[in-house]
């Protein structure tokens, strides 16, 4: 561990403080340090060093005591929420938070699955890496149909920043020229399988408004010099990314933004530093720094900086703001609007259609693709809305051959059964719905009146549930997916509705939204709080609507844009 990089106590006043080290914290630190600002990154969890701390990477199943499954008593005791995540297993559990140490409450009659990764790198180590630009329609949606407030930015404001971050991150995908899904700067796409290619061709004729494309993901397929300079190499198609990737083939804080920030010599990191609240200087109406409680010793300390970027995750950021109370801001810092905590959103993934595909007996694939098929939202503007619900959804999925695990309980015995499992089984296709969630004031978080965590910080109380709009969207999407599969000639079509609570898409956004009106929003169009000039929020909390696509690429672009604005303002003396 680089002892000069990691600090504990210090009397230094930094140019900038970044709270959080995940997707947005990493980007904020990179952009601030590369612009010459001495920056402190604060992380509540432990340090995770690239390569060295990927303790299960490459470990085959026979080397796990439970063959990758997790001891039930441990799951029930420490991971009763985290175990709901598809990526949670014995090889990844150390990157998920211990639920027993991070309690939160939910309003009676509601549930919210809050998936957390409290260590250096945060959820950038665990994410699913699917990367999509939001479109002009996404930024106009609230204004167009009246749900939520109008975004203060348009696609054109963010487009150059998407391009900027994409060149650094490395996005695999195909240029399609679709109005509802702007192309990124791409590295080569992953290949489709033969049934997928045929499905794409059939849908192009039969369902021309539902183009089937390969998904876009933050994996290097043709690394560029600025990526190889950081030690990143081409994706090897292991698709075991959540264990950590020593190849640096997928984008994470550890593989990309952190080494870039460290290279400037301007970065310091304080790990095991739980931010209790922001220190407010009422005389100058500035945030002066942060109050921190040591994760392990519970001792208090303070850090000081001239600009503060909150990148602590959507709900982590809002919890800190709500807990930063003063005479001027009795209900949370920069909350003169009273909107802080409101309009929480996620994506709804509760509908899945699957079917059998006949033929293709001698078609197979090698490697484990970290991408899928993707069918972009086709209800992307009000004139294209379904009559029964507002906004829209995408499908993600793909075709695969059944394997020893999916056929494991099928009938048969002996050498005949063994020979059956020796070969791949029949082809199937699965398509999962990824639906937008309407912004709704009633979906909100507050601080619990009495319950606190072990650091003495009031627990978050979450009141969030799906509306009929999302439920009806899921039901109708099953019919659409089934119809597409039927037209493609697939058989044994199965429609499945799940009842997962919000949270499990791990796309929570909102609760400190942007807006043009300080009376109805927390942040302006540069993610700067309306109330305090040197306080910025650039994670998902800033979103006005969820859009349909996976949000991380937008987190990155919006952060880079905000830092550019903040540093220019700082250097011109406007923030001090």
């Amino acid at each position: 561990m680089n002892k000069e990089l990691y600090i504990d106590k210090t009397s230094e006043t930094f140019d900038a403080i970044v709270i959080g080290s995940g997707m947005t914290g990493g980007w904020a630190a990179k952009e601030l340090t590369e612009r010459g600002l001495k920056t402190l990154m604060i992380e509540r969890g432990r340090a995770v060093e690239h390569r060295k701390d990927y303790i299960t990477e490459g470990k085959p199943p026979w080397q796990y005591e439970f063959r990758t499954k997790v001891d039930k008593s441990l799951k029930d005791k420490k991971y009763h929420i985290q175990q709901q995540c598809y990526a949670f297993h014995d090889g990844t559990k150390h990157f998920f938070s211990d639920d027993s140490a991070y309690p939160y409450s939910t309003e009676p009659g509601t549930e919210f699955s809050w998936i957390r990764a409290n260590q250096l790198g945060g959820k950038s180590l665990l994410w699913h890496r699917q990367s999509y630009r939001m479109s002009k329609f996404d930024f106009l949606a609230n204004k167009a149909d009246g749900h939520g407030n109008d975004w203060p930015i348009r696609y054109e404001d963010l487009a150059p920043w998407y391009e900027y971050v994409e060149r650094f991150v490395g996005i695999s995908g195909s240029a399609e020229g679709l109005p509802q899904l702007p192309d990124s700067v791409f590295q080569p796409p992953f290949e489709m399988t033969a049934p997928e290619r045929d499905f794409k061709q059939k849908m192009a004729k039969l369902e021309p408004d539902k183009p089937v494309i390969i998904s876009r993901c933050a994996h290097l397929t043709a690394p560029q010099p600025q990526q190889t300079a950081l030690g990143r190499i081409q994706c090897q198609a292991r698709n075991e990314c959540q264990k950590g990737c020593s190849f640096g083939a997928y984008f994470s804080t550890q593989s990309a933004t952190l080494p870039a920030a460290v290279a400037t010599g301007k970065l310091s990191i304080a790990t095991n530093s739980v931010v209790e609240s922001l220190i407010y200087d009422e005389v100058n109406n500035r945030v002066a720094g942060v109050r921190v409680i040591d994760n392990e010793t519970l001792e208090q300390r303070e850090y000081f900086g001239k600009i503060v970027f909150l990148c602590a995750s959507t709900l982590g950021t809002t919890q800190i703001m709500l807990n930063s109370r003063s005479r001027r801001f009795p209900n949370g810092i920069a909350n003169s609007s009273g909107v802080l905590g409101q309009y929480l959103m996620d994506h709804n993934y509760n509908a899945v259609v699957s079917a059998s595909i006949d033929g293709y007996e001698n078609e197979f694939y090698t490697g484990r693709r970290p991408a899928s098929l993707y069918i972009p939202n086709f209800h992307y503007e009000p004139s294209r809305y379904h009559k029964d619900f507002k906004r829209g959804y995408a499908f993600a999925g793909g075709a695969y051959r059944e394997d020893w695990q999916s056929m494991g309980a099928s009938e048969g015995f002996g050498t005949e059964f063994k020979q059956k499992l020796h070969m791949p089984g029949a082809w199937r296709m699965s398509l999962g719905t990824q639906g937008e969630m309407l912004p709704d004031r009633e979906n909100q978080v507050t601080l619990h009146a009495t319950k606190k965590d072990k650091w003495g910080i009031p627990q978050l109380h979450i009141n969030c549930q799906w509306s009929d709009n999302e439920r009806i969207m899921m039901e109708r999407s099953l019919d659409v997916g089934a119809s597409m599969m039927s037209k493609a000639g697939f058989t044994n079509i199965e429609k499945r509705l799940r009842n997962n609570a919000p949270g499990l898409a791990i796309h929570e956004v909102g609760t400190a939204r942007m807006g043009n009106d300080p009376k109805t929003s927390v942040l302006n169009k540069y993610n700067q709080t309306h109330d305090i000039a040197n306080l910025f929020v650039t994670d998902g909390a800033s979103f006005c609507s969820s859009g349909v696509g996976n949000p991380s690429l937008t987190f990155m672009a919006i952060t880079a844009r905000a830092v550019d604005y903040a540093v220019k303002a700082y250097k011109s003396g406007k923030l001090v």
Binding site: G58, P60, P61, W62, F66, R67, T68, K69, V70, D71, K72, S73, D76, Y86, A87, H89, F190, E191, M192, T193, A194, E196, R197, Q234, C235, Q236, A237, R238, N239, E240, E361, N362, E363, F364, Y365, T366, G367, R368, R369, R401, D403, W404, Q405, G408, A409, E411, F413, G414, T415, F417, K418, L421, H422, M423, P424
Partner: protein
């Protein structure tokens, strides 16, 4: 008073009906049985484990590669049920194995009857044919899926019977199956 099969198993750690060798360790541990949500504190009777071993041999026998029994899938199944599954699942499997032992009791216990007769019993079980119930069949599916999981996640099953690609080196979307030769054991998520 007549003891139920379950009581018998719990109290003596073996099936008296099966006439198998008594295990002091099993007795001691079963005697300390506590009601918990997991089966971690339970020890399966040796006769039942032996029955499982025979089942494993029927599901995936030794060919030119090791079989499920060779890689100790019977112990894996018990271990997995004890530590990963609910106690209710463990109990269902224990009930099924106990029932299987009794199916053969007119002649001898399941492990002692002929291979062909064992196979006939297991085929009946998989079809829920008399004397087996739908619950027996469903429980057997769990047992079978665990044997399969244990086998193909064992090193011999994963690397000798199928292909294990630790580092595939890239993804190819269309290759002839006959150029690969078999399925892959390696997965992104198990």
């Amino acid at each position: 008073m007549t003891l139920s099969r379950r009581q018998l198993i719990k109290q003596f750690g073996v099936s008296a009906a099966a006439g198998t060798i008594f295990s002091p360790k099993a007795f001691a541990i079963a005697g300390q049985f506590r009601e918990t949500d997991t089966a971690e504190s339970l020890t399966m009777a040796p006769a039942l484990v032996e029955t499982l071993a025979h089942i494993a041999d029927h599901v995936i026998p030794r060919t030119d590669t090791p079989g499920a029994r060779d890689v100790l899938c019977h112990h894996f199944v018990v271990h997995q049920l004890q530590h990963v599954y609910d106690k209710a699942d463990y109990n269902k499997v224990e009930d099924l194995l106990t029932f299987l032992l009794e199916v053969g009791k007119d002649t001898s216990s399941f492990p002692q009857i002929s291979y062909d007769t064992q196979r006939k019993i297991l085929v009946d079980l998989e079809q829920a044919a008399s004397p087996f119930s739908d619950i027996h069949r469903d429980t057997f599916r769990l047992v079978k899926s665990l044997i399969v999981f244990g086998y193909y996640t064992s090193e011999p099953g994963a690397t000798k019977e199928l292909k294990y690609l630790a580092v595939p080196g890239g993804f190819k979307g269309s290759v002839p199956l006959d150029s690969v030769g078999s399925a892959f054991s390696s997965k992104a998520y198990y």
